[in-house]
Symmetry: C2
Subunit: 293 residues, 2 copies
């Protein structure tokens, strides 16, 4: 049976390392601060935002809770971003997605000052990442790299197959793992809905990253013995036995554990890392803004 | 024997298509214009710049030849870029690389207004490409996509293996071929110097792109019968029989033609496409600036 890689433990280790840095930042007079912008009342978004603010509180980052009704105009939302860009107490700005359909998300995300782009979604951040320049890296891809390195599965020299080509996981993760840098140097393949025989590709992986958002898509026949599987999927499936009425499942069938050497669970795998990399990015942004890198 | 894919013919077809668009732009009162900035007297750079200006003249794009001694300060070069950014007769700005070592290339390239970034090297351009947003695409990757599509080798659904992870070819090409768009939709693998067994990877390719800058690196044993090979390598090797004292060779051993189904030559393959995509990008930039897309 595969070793279960505990994302909660790894995330806690990273948070512990952030502690002294957060104290040092606070010592400059202004503590590290994250502005969390929520538009509307999507229940999933509310629970994400609440969790992120709780994470901040736990490690000593100040969070600014900025909630607006779904009726806010794009102009007003852009003005809010401008104000946060200029606010010296704000080191990071997170605009929770999705935004209402009358607001152009790309325009809002591009408006965030790149040095405060702690989600790493700004095209300038992504372009600088591709070029290997210093920048804030997107949270989930960065979390996947951390989980690999800290679980003894460094991607250097390995064949990593990524299923899915999303803007927040597949494409930026492929770029990040290709870079000539610690945590990179992998041979990377991206496959997706237009790949004729996905199983043939996934069976060639040393490390398999599932990130397409289809519950239980990866089955035991699709992997070879000894593979390391990172499950980025977070799917809600109906479950009457839960108080919430649903449970979270990944993109990987749990039966894959009978073939893989190591595997991340859902929940408790990549999720805690994504959240922790947001804290990490806020600390990095705060240090850079104060010149204490 | 492999069909030879004639880059010169494909490039000419694209230039012919640009003709009416260039005339329409000129009809607005200001012809499409490309500013070509050359610093120093590197012989290869001089010949590239001269060729680019000749290309412009041939299709009816106005070029501005801006040559400065290697002693120019970074401040003065940045001021020149600022002036060109604000110059209404300039639609595209090309800064020929390499720049002298006392100048930070990244800083100069990031100073170019993204809407005039006809090389597609600006991180904002690359980030917007990764996100699938409208932008100016880097010339060589875009040229590779054109050569594939126009030679009847559409990458959609194919396994494309790219050797090399440079900022101007490997990494952006991998992203471009992964995108959900015409000319994309490929399953893409990037391998490089840290890949333990490159031949095992290249033998799995339907389409192989060689872009690492090692003369004759790809040999017949490294490909499977029927592969389509795109040779992006441009290497100067000494040749006493030539007046110039050198000849250009690719990254692919010509003997690969005995195994491949189709192959691009060097010279006369990707090179003419790279040059033509610069003209194409200048036209696109000029149209967008005039609102005639």
């Amino acid at each position: 049976m595969a070793e279960l890689i505990d994302g909660t433990v790894i995330a806690q280790a990273i948070q512990d390392e952030l502690g002294p840095r957060i104290q040092r930042i606070a010592g400059t007079g202004i503590p590290a601060g994250l502005a969390v912008v929520l538009v509307g009342e999507n229940p999933a978004s509310i629970s994400y935002v609440t969790a992120k603010e709780r994470d901040c509180e736990k490690v000593g980052i100040r969070s600014f809770d900025l909630r607006h009704p779904a009726s806010i105009s794009e102009t007003d939302l852009l003005a809010l971003v401008d104000e946060l860009n200029g606010n010296d107490e704000v080191d990071g700005i997170l605009v929770q997605l999705p935004l209402p359909s009358h607001i152009e998300s790309d325009r809002v995300l591009e408006r965030i000052a790149p040095e405060k782009d702690v989600d790493g979604f700004h095209p300038l951040s992504l372009g600088r990442m591709l070029l290997g320049l210093p920048t804030l890296l997107p949270c989930t891809p960065q979390g996947v790299v951390e989980i690999l390195q800290r679980s003894g599965n460094d991607p250097d020299g390995k064949h990593v197959v990524i299923i899915g080509r999303s803007n927040i996981v597949g494409k930026p993760l492929a770029t990040l793992l290709t870079l000539k840098r610690p945590g990179g140097n992998a041979t990377v393949t991206v496959c997706h809905s237009r790949t004729p025989d996905i199983a043939a590709v996934t069976r060639s992986a040393d490390i398999l990253v599932a990130a397409m958002g289809v519950p239980g898509f990866v089955t035991p026949e699709m992997v070879r013995p000894g593979v390391v599987v990172i499950d980025v999927g977070v799917n809600r499936v109906a479950d009457d036995t839960r108080k919430s009425g649903y449970r979270l499942v990944g993109d990987v069938d749990p039966a894959v554990a009978s073939v893989a050497a190591a595997m991340t669970p859902v929940p408790g795998g990549v999720g805690p890392l994504t959240r922790t990399m947001l804290l990490h990015n806020t600390v990095v942004a705060a240090e850079r803004r104060r010149g204490i890198t």
